[in-house]
């Protein structure tokens, strides 16, 4: 029984880390219909900025997170205006080619500026402790990530489903021409959504850095994981992404605990099974 609880806690924590990091990609792919393979690159930029701010400038963790999110958005705005704007509504292959190109450029630049070594983001003392749950200990940072995941899920759901901007966004996604005719400034809507998605990527990169450390190949190393989460959850659906992360986190953690020699077999078996039964993901919308 204790083992079950133990796996449950690990699964929840790992699932939430996956969620925080991948939800931004779900937004770009589902709502903006852009296959953004550079998502991991933006998460990495966020990580680098936070690492620089916290480690080299000695700023507080919360402040470093804020600077990382804002800084990454500032870097992403010109990229959106100059590059992404051209691929909205283009065939997927064009989008994939361009975003993978952007990823390679960002990897090269990060390697040139920060060097090839690992970068850590120093966390405050309170997050470094181990917290006892009675039957086992878990790091305070994991609890913090779980809280962040829930906050992001709730906030994003409210933003898209309940605000006037969310209405405009959904209108622009479903029928851009009609939305524009009704006075929705679609370009502004797209730019803001892109900024939100990039900000989420950066946030995830920083918060998840304890599990997925920041280094130049971050952008490629974890790309498959991000894409799996989005395709299993259904692009653009927040509850779907959340369910996918918790499910995949549980399967991965249980498999790793009980039969580590099978490697990622169970993880990918689950992915195949889910995509086979739900081709659009758990909560994907039919076209």
């Amino acid at each position: 029984m204790q083992t079950v609880f133990s796996i449950g806690v690990d699964a929840l924590a790992y699932g939430m880390v996956l969620f925080v990091i991948s939800i931004g990609l779900s937004v770009t792919m589902g709502l903006m219909r852009v296959v953004n393979l550079a998502h991991g690159a933006f998460a990495m930029i966020g990580g680098y900025i936070a690492s620089y701010a916290a480690r080299d400038l000695g700023l507080a963790y919360a402040f470093a997170v804020l600077i990382a999110v804002v800084g990454t958005i500032l870097i992403a705005i010109p990229i959106e205006r100059l590059l992404y704007r051209r691929i909205y509504g283009q065939p997927e292959l064009t989008q994939v080619l361009m975003t993978i190109g952007i990823t390679f450029c960002i990897i090269g630049i990060a390697n040139y500026i920060f060097g090839p070594t690992l970068k850590t983001i120093p966390t405050p003392e309170t997050l470094r402790q181990s917290v006892s749950l009675g039957f086992r200990t878990v790091s305070a940072h994991r609890l913090f990530v779980i809280a962040c995941g829930l906050a992001v899920a709730l906030g994003l759901w409210y933003f898209i489903e309940r605000t006037a901007f969310g209405v405009k966004l959904r209108a622009a996604v479903d029928n851009a021409a009609m939305a524009a005719a009704l006075g929705v400034k679609t370009q502004v809507v797209y730019a803001v959504s892109f900024a939100v998605a990039v900000g989420l990527a950066a946030f995830g990169g920083v918060v998840g850095a304890e599990l997925l450390p920041i280094e130049p190949y971050y952008a490629l190393r974890y790309m498959v994981t991000f894409l799996v989460v989005v395709s299993v959850g259904g692009a653009g659906s927040i509850p779907g992404a959340l369910a996918a992360c918790l499910l995949l986190g549980a399967i991965d953690t249980a498999g790793r605990y009980l039969m580590p020699e099978f490697g990622e077999f169970f993880f990918y078996l689950a992915v195949i099974a889910i995509v086979w039964i739900f081709p659009r993901g758990l909560a994907g919308r039919a076209k």
């Binding site: 083992t3 690990d10 086992r136 997925l212 450390p213 605990y257």
Partner: protein
């Protein structure tokens, strides 16, 4: 007149070739991609050696030709080696970070009459693939065996082994098990983790549940190491008094700034620490740090490359610059010298390097940086892996 000019030019060219040769050395390694740092260390070691010892041997000038192979890719390694031999006319092949890359190029050596100096790849069997292979790095068996003795002598009798599921990981598991059981301890469980593991919490729980007093770990250096060591601390294993044993790949110097506090006190065994206290090492570190640019990036492949160059220089000296692989390899069999890592010898039988293995502990220097502090020496260690394979 025109004819005469051409003849004169031809004579001048031929004369140029006859007087002083340029001997080319082809170095294959990861100079871009995720392992670029290790390739950079190869280059730093080679540059350091040439800066300290000059770029000529006798009348011959040494020229290094680099070929990039970003990740383990045997077919590409063979193609590049062949190109180096056929098109560039190299007399020596060197480098090779990954075992499969070195293995793939060995069939070329005899036909091409070219010796290979392996500067990193650490699987025991490489030297058996061709009589022209000499290795100046280490083997996983060589660095993992002494830690078993350290563990047992420190009072740990039950250990769980946790390794990444790939060649060197399996090697490390076997080496530790052999050493530890010979000493009288028991390996209660052996876990092989997939290479792509990000979250180590479940593994830590397994370690805790196994009831072992210590854990032996091997992972490739880089991001996974950081996650593993952090998970070890955060899941309360360190506080529960479970001991941590590993070969030095886990605490390589270029990872230490990131590992930092989490790695403090970890004990590992390895053949080289940048902090090694000797005049040779001081000279080496100074030259290599200059070559690599950022001293914090300096790590063990640099010393393998530095000693590899020493072996190549000795080979060139012995053959007088002529291409004769058998004579060159014979000349360095039993060769002893003072390396930055300590006294070393090329074992005449296996052509692998016999060297001291050091027990080190991650410590904090006065300036706040972390380093591997050598606390015990295992002298003249050969490669137990070859004996085990027989």
């Amino acid at each position: 007149m025109k004819k005469f000019a051409i003849a004169a030019l031809a004579a001048a060219l031929m004369g140029g070739v006859a007087q002083a040769d340029t001997i080319k050395v082809g170095v294959v390694g990861p100079f871009s991609g995720p392992f670029a740092l290790q390739g950079k260390n190869f280059k730093a070691g080679i540059d350091a050696y040439m800066a300290l010892n000059g770029s000529t041997v006798g009348d011959d000038t040494i020229e290094i030709i680099y070929r990039d192979i970003p990740t383990a890719d045997p077919a590409q390694s063979k193609a590049l080696s062949q190109e180096l031999v056929v098109k560039e006319g190299v007399q020596y092949l060197a480098g090779f970070y990954f075992t499969p890359d070195a293995m793939a190029a060995t069939p070329l050596l005899e036909q091409a009459n070219v010796p290979m100096v392996v500067m990193n790849a650490a699987t025991s069997a490489i030297v058996t693939k061709s009589p022209f292979v000499v290795r100046t790095s280490f083997t996983t068996w060589q660095t993992s065996t002494p830690i078993a003795k350290v563990a047992f002598d420190g009072g740990t009798k039950k250990v769980i082994s946790v390794v990444s599921d790939y060649g060197p990981g399996v090697d490390a598991e076997a080496a530790f098990k052999a050493g530890f059981e010979k000493a009288g301890g028991a390996v209660v469980e052996a876990i092989r983790m997939p290479l792509q593991t990000n979250d180590f919490s479940p593994i830590m729980q397994r370690i805790k549940d196994s009831g072992a007093e210590g854990v032996f770990a091997f992972l490739p250096s880089g991001p996974t190491t950081l996650g593993f060591v952090k998970a070890f601390n955060e899941n309360g294993l360190k506080d529960a008094g479970i001991k941590f044993f590993a070969p030095g790949d886990l605490t390589q110097e270029s990872d230490l700034p990131a590992l930092g506090e989490a790695a403090l006190g970890l004990q590992t065994t390895f053949h080289y620490a940048v902090s090694h206290d000797s005049a040779e090492n001081k000279k080496f570190v100074e030259a290599a740090a200059k070559a690599i640019g950022n001293p914090a990036e300096l790590s063990f492949p640099a010393v393998g490359a530095y000693d590899g160059m020493h072996v190549i220089y000795k080979m060139i000296e012995a053959t007088g610059g002529e291409q004769d692989a058998a004579k060159a390899v014979d000349a360095v069999k039993g060769l002893s010298w003072e390396s930055p890592r300590g006294p070393v010898t090329i074992d005449p039988e296996s052509r692998h390097i016999t060297q001291n293995i050091y027990l080190r502990e991650v410590a904090k220097a006065e300036d706040g940086t972390y380093y591997n502090k050598e606390i015990q020496t295992f002298e003249k260690q050969g490669d137990p892996g070859l004996a085990a394979a027989k």
